[in-house]
C-alpha cells in the first residue's frame, strides 16, 4: 500500500515534466494552483544551480503588485539537494541594489552563510556571486534575502534536502507549503508607519462599544492595563489590515490546491517564510502527524493544530482516506486573516473554510506577572515591578526598554498565544522529541542569558536593551564549547529567535533526544533555554520578525578557537 518513492526516478521525471508544467507565470511549477505534488513538478537540483534575482509583478487574488522574485517566481524556486553532494549556487543579481541569499537552517562554512556585513560583503547590484558548500544534512529548509527588507517583497523560497540513505519518513506523495505575508505597501513604508504610529495596523483594539457589549476585558482590567500603558490587543505589529496571507504565493481566493489519492500518506513540508506573521495551522478533519521540525526528524506526534512561528519549518504526514476536499487554514496569530489552501483528490474541489476565530488578548502571564502556579517563596526573589533593573542587571535600561519581565517562566509546554483553549490537541515544544540521539550530549560548560527587549511605543527592539547599531561587542563563544543559552522575553510579543549556522537543543526535558532547532519562538513573558555547540566563524543571531530585526534586534555571535580567545 505504502511505497517508498525512488527519489532519483522522481527527479528524472520531474525534469522531463518541467517544461510542460511551468506554465503559470508568477509561481513556480511546484506551486501551481493545483499541484499533484513535488514528484511531478520541477525543482532546481544538481551540482550547479542558477538563481536570478529581479523585480517582477506578483498577482494575488487577482491584484497585481510589485515584488522581488527569483527566476521570475514568488516564492522562489524549490531547490532540491541531496545530502553528501557539493552545492554550487550561482546568484545573478538583476536588481539595482545589493542582494544576498541566506540558506536558512543549513550548516555550512560561515563565509557562505549569506549575511552582508557578517559572513560576506553582499552581492552588489548587477553582479554575480557563487555560493559553494558541502550539503551535510537533510530535511526541509528555506532561503531568503538578508539585504534590506527584500524578504518581505518575495525573495524567499523552499529547500528540500533528501537524505543520503533511505528517508526515515515514509510517504507516498509530498507537497511543499510555503506560508508568507504580502502587502501592497512597500516594506519601507510599513516600517516607517510602525515607527510613526506603532499601532498603525491594529484594527482590533478594545473599544467603548465593546465594553458596553460585554466584550474583551472588563472595565477594571482595562483601567489596570491602561495604568501600565499596555495594550492587550497588541498581538501582531503588522496585520491583515495590510497583509494578504499566502500559500505558495496564492491568496485565499486563489485557493492553491494540493492533490492526493485517498489512502495515501501525504507529506506536507510547511515553511513559514513570513516577514512578520506567526500562523496557527490546521486542516479540519485531518489529524496532523508531526514528523520533522526545522529539518530535523522527530518522533511522530499527532496533533490537530500547531503554531508555526516565523522561519520555522514543520513536516507533517496526513492520511486523508475519504474522497473529499479538506481546507488547510493558517490563521495569523492575531486572527486578522488567514492563508488558505485545499487538499483535494481532484482540481477544482473546495471544502468549507472555517471562519476566523476570535482574536486572543494578551494576559498577565504574557507580562510575566502571573502569580498563579508560582513557587512558594518565588515572590521573595526580585520585585514584581514592571521595569525593575534589578530583575535583569545586564539590560541597559534606556528608552528602548519598556518592561523587564519580573517573573519569566518556561512556557515551552504551552501551545502558543491564543491556543490554550481551542478544544483540540495543539503542538507544544515539549511534544517534540528528536528521532535520533543528539550528536553532542555533553552538558554545557557555560551559561549565558540574553534578554529580548523592546518598546512598542517607540517601536524599538533589541537584545539586552542595546540595538545592533549601538552594540560595542559581539557575543563571544569558544569553538566547540557547549553553552546553555537562556532567552528571556521581557516584551509582550512572541519573538522567533534564530541563530545562524547552528542547531541548538531545546531544554525541554528530553535528555539526549532534545529537539534540535534553528529558530525558537519565545512566548511573551517567558524564557527558553537551549544548549548549543559553537561552530567557528561569525554568525548572525536575531529575531526573525523582519521589522524587529530591522529595528535593531540582532547581534553577531563570534566563535573563535580557544587559543585565539585567550590571546
Amino acid at each position: 500500500m505504502r511505497k517508498m518513492i525512488d527519489r532519483r526516478g522522481v527527479l528524472g521525471s520531474a525534469v522531463l515534466a518541467g517544461g510542460a508544467a511551468a506554465l503559470t507565470r508568477w509561481t513556480p511549477a511546484w506551486a501551481q494552483t493545483a499541484s499533484p505534488g513535488l514528484a511531478a513538478a520541477p525543482a532546481l537540483s544538481g551540482d550547479d544551480i542558477t538563481l536570478r534575482v529581479a523585480h517582477q509583478l506578483l498577482t494575488v487574488d487577482g491584484r497585481s503588485s510589485h515584488a522581488i522574485g527569483i527566476n521570475g517566481t514568488v516564492p522562489a524556486p524549490l531547490i532540491r539537494l541531496r545530502e553528501g553532494q557539493r552545492a554550487r549556487l550561482h546568484i545573478v543579481n538583476d536588481l539595482d541594489e545589493e542582494t544576498s541569499v541566506h540558506w536558512h537552517g543549513l550548516l555550512l562554512p560561515f563565509q557562505m552563510d549569506g549575511v552582508p556585513g557578517i559572513s560576506f560583503p553582499g552581492i552588489p547590484a548587477r553582479s554575480r556571486f557563487t555560493y559553494e558548500f558541502p550539503v551535510v544534512q537533510s530535511g526541509t529548509y528555506w532561503y531568503h534575502s538578508h539585504s534590506g527588507l527584500q524578504e518581505q517583497l518575495g525573495h524567499y523560497g523552499p529547500i528540500v534536502i533528501d537524505p543520503a540513505g533511505p528517508d526515515a519518513i515514509g510517504y507516498d506523495r509530498e507537497h511543499v507549503i510555503v506560508l508568507s505575508d504580502h502587502s501592497p505597501l512597500h516594506p519601507h513604508q510599513i516600517f516607517r508607519k510602525l515607527k510613526l504610529q506603532p499601532g498603525m495596523f491594529n484594527r482590533r483594539r478594545q473599544t467603548l462599544a465593546g465594553l458596553l457589549d460585554g466584550q474583551d476585558q472588563p472595565l477594571n482590567d482595562r483601567l489596570e492595563w491602561g495604568r501600565m500603558r499596555m495594550d492587550p490587543t497588541d498581538i501582531a505589529d503588522v496585520t491583515g489590515a495590510t497583509y494578504t496571507y499566502l500559500v505558495n504565493g496564492h491568496g485565499p481566493k486563489d485557493n492553491w490546491t494540493a492533490l492526493f489519492r485517498p489512502g495515501e500518506r501525504v507529506r506536507l513540508r510547511i515553511v513559514n517564510a513570513s516577514a512578520m506573521t506567526i500562523f496557527n495551522l490546521r486542516i479540519p478533519g485531518l489529524p496532523l502527524s508531526v514528523v520533522q521540525a526545522d529539518g530535523q526528524n522527530v518522533r511522530p506526534v499527532t496533533v490537530d493544530e500547531l503554531q508555526i512561528t516565523v522561519a520555522e519549518t514543520y513536516d507533517l504526514i496526513v492520511t486523508p482516506t475519504e474522497d473529499r476536499a479538506y481546507s488547510l487554514v493558517a490563521e495569523s496569530i492575531d486572527r486578522s486573516g488567514m492563508a488558505r489552501a485545499t487538499l483535494a483528490p481532484r482540481a477544482g474541489m473546495t471544502a468549507e473554510v472555517p471562519p476566523l476565530r476570535r482574536r486572543p488578548l494578551t494576559t498577565m502571564k504574557d507580562m510575566a506577572m502571573d502569580m498563579a502556579g508560582m513557587d512558594h517563596g518565588a515572590m521573595d526573589h526580585g520585585s514584581m515591578r514592571m521595569r525593575d533593573g534589578a530583575n535583569a542587571p545586564q539590560v541597559r535600561l534606556g528608552p528602548g526598554v519598556q518592561t523587564i519581565a519580573p517573573m519569566p517562566v518556561d512556557r515551552t509546554g504551552e501551545p502558543g498565544q491564543g491556543l490554550d483553549a481551542v478544544g483540540h490537541r495543539v503542538l507544544t515544544y515539549r511534544d517534540l522529541v528528536a528521532l535520533e540521539r543528539n550528536p553532542d550530549t555533553r552538558p554545557p560548560e557555560r551559561a549565558l542569558e540574553i534578554h529580548l527587549t523592546g518598546n512598542m511605543e517607540r517601536y524599538m527592539w533589541s537584545f539586552d536593551g542595546v540595538k545592533l547599531n549601538e552594540v560595542k561587542q559581539p557575543i563571544a563563544f569558544r569553538a566547540g564549547e557547549r553553552v546553555r543559552v537562556t532567552l528571556v522575553n521581557d516584551t509582550m510579543m512572541s519573538h522567533p529567535i534564530h541563530l545562524h549556522g547552528h542547531f541548538f537543543e531545546l531544554v525541554t526535558g528530553h535528555g539526549d533526544h532534545a529537539p534540535r532547532k534553528h529558530t525558537v519562538n519565545v512566548l511573551p513573558g517567558s524564557k527558553v533555554s537551549w544548549d548549543v555547540t559553537a561552530t567557528p566563524g561569525d554568525w548572525a543571531f536575531h529575531c526573525h520578525m523582519l521589522y524587529h530585526m530591522h529595528a535593531g534586534m540582532m547581534q553577531v555571535v563570534r566563535v573563535r578557537p580557544t587559543e585565539d580567545a585567550a590571546a
Partner: protein, 305 residues
C-alpha cells in the same frame, strides 16, 4: 506661590522619567553576559520537570565567558576593506535608522458667534530613536482679520525613557498678539492611562516666565471613531502687559473632538472647543476691546505625512 507649584509640576515629570534611566548603561554592555557570578546548582538533571516553574542552571555551567574577538572572520575571505564597509552598512541598517514626520493634531475652522476663525497645532520632526529636531507651531486667527496668535518652536528632543522626551530650544511668537522670543524647555510623552501630555516652560528675553500644559486622551468608541477630550492651560509667573498676559492661570482651552480614523494618517473630525481668558489676562483683553473667550464648533482634520 503659583509659580513654585508650576515649577514643581514641570520638573516632576522629567525627574520621574530620569529616575528610570538612572539605572542605565554599565560601561561594558556585555558585562552581563558573563555569567560567572550565576549560581550553578549541583543537580544533575538538566531540565526542570515542573513546567512553568522556571529552569535551573546546568551542572557546572560556570566557565567564564571568553574575551570577545575583535577581528572579523570574513576578512580573510573577502578582504578587510570590503567587510568593513559592509559591516558599517549592516549595523546602520539594524537600528540606526532616521525618520521624519509632519503632523497636524489640530487643523480646523472654528465657527463661533460673530467671528469665525481657524486654529492649528502641529509639528514636524526629523531624527532617530533618541535624538530629534522638532519644529512645533500653533496659532489661531479670524477670517478676514490678522492672525491673532502664532508660535513657532525650534526644539532639540531627547528620549529620556520609554515614554518621555525632553525638549529644549527656542520659541518665537510671530503674530499681532506677541512677537516675543523665549527659551523653551519641556517634556512630552505618555502618562499612565494613556494620557498624552506636553508641559513646557518659556522664559522670554525680557525675563518673563510662562508655562503651558497640554493634555489629551483618545477614547476609542469603535475601531474608526475616536473621541478626544483635550485641555490646554496657559500660566504666567507675572503680568506681561505688552502681550496682555496676567499672572497666574491666564487662559484655559477645553475641547471635545470626535474623529473618524478609517485612515490612520488622515482623520477628519468635528467637535466643540471652549476657551476663556482668566483673571488679569481677561482684564487686559477687555481693556483692549478683545473678547475673553467663548465656545466654537470646530471641524478639521488630524493628519500626518
Amino acid at each position: 506661590m503659583r509659580l513654585a507649584a508650576l515649577l514643581a509640576l514641570l520638573l516632576a515629570a522629567p525627574a520621574a522619567a530620569q529616575d528610570h534611566s538612572a539605572h542605565s548603561a554599565p560601561a561594558d554592555p556585555h558585562a552581563g553576559h558573563d555569567m560567572s557570578a550565576m549560581e550553578a546548582p549541583a543537580a544533575a538533571e538538566q531540565t526542570d520537570p515542573h513546567a512553568g516553574h522556571g529552569m535551573q542552571a546546568p551542572t557546572g555551567a560556570s566557565a567564564p565567558a571568553p574575551a570577545p574577538a575583535d577581528d572579523r572572520a570574513a576578512d580573510r575571505y573577502w578582504g578587510a576593506a570590503a567587510m568593513a564597509r559592509a559591516e558599517r552598512a549592516m549595523r546602520r541598517e539594524h537600528g540606526g535608522g532616521s525618520w521624519h514626520q509632519l503632523r497636524f493634531d489640530l487643523a480646523e475652522v472654528q465657527l463661533r458667534a460673530g467671528r469665525d476663525g481657524y486654529r492649528w497645532d502641529g509639528e514636524a520632526w526629523i531624527g532617530g530613536d533618541i535624538d530629534r529636531l522638532v519644529l512645533k507651531s500653533e496659532g489661531s486667527g479670524s477670517f478676514g482679520g490678522a492672525v491673532d496668535d502664532a508660535e513657532v518652536h525650534a526644539l532639540y528632543g531627547r528620549a529620556l525613557d520609554p515614554y518621555w522626551t525632553l525638549q529644549a530650544g527656542i520659541r518665537q511668537d510671530l503674530a499681532r498678539g506677541s512677537r516675543a522670543t523665549y527659551a523653551a524647555i519641556g517634556v512630552e510623552g505618555m502618562a499612565p492611562y494613556w494620557l498624552q501630555l506636553d508641559a513646557a516652560l518659556f522664559l522670554s528675553t525680557n525675563g518673563d516666565l510662562l508655562s503651558r500644559i497640554e493634555g489629551a486622551y483618545d477614547q476609542r468608541i469603535t475601531q474608526d471613531l475616536v473621541l478626544q477630550p483635550r485641555m490646554e492651560l496657559d500660566l504666567a509667573a507675572q503680568d506681561v502687559p505688552q502681550t496682555a498676559i496676567g499672572a497666574g492661570l491666564s487662559q484655559v482651552e477645553l475641547g471635545l473632538r470626535l474623529r473618524y480614523e478609517r485612515a490612520r494618517a488622515f482623520a477628519p473630525y468635528l467637535g466643540i472647543s471652549w476657551d476663556r481668558r482668566l483673571g488679569r489676562t481677561a482684564d487686559f483683553a477687555r481693556a483692549r476691546g478683545d473678547g475673553t473667550g467663548g465656545t466654537a464648533l470646530v471641524a478639521g482634520v488630524r493628519a500626518w505625512f
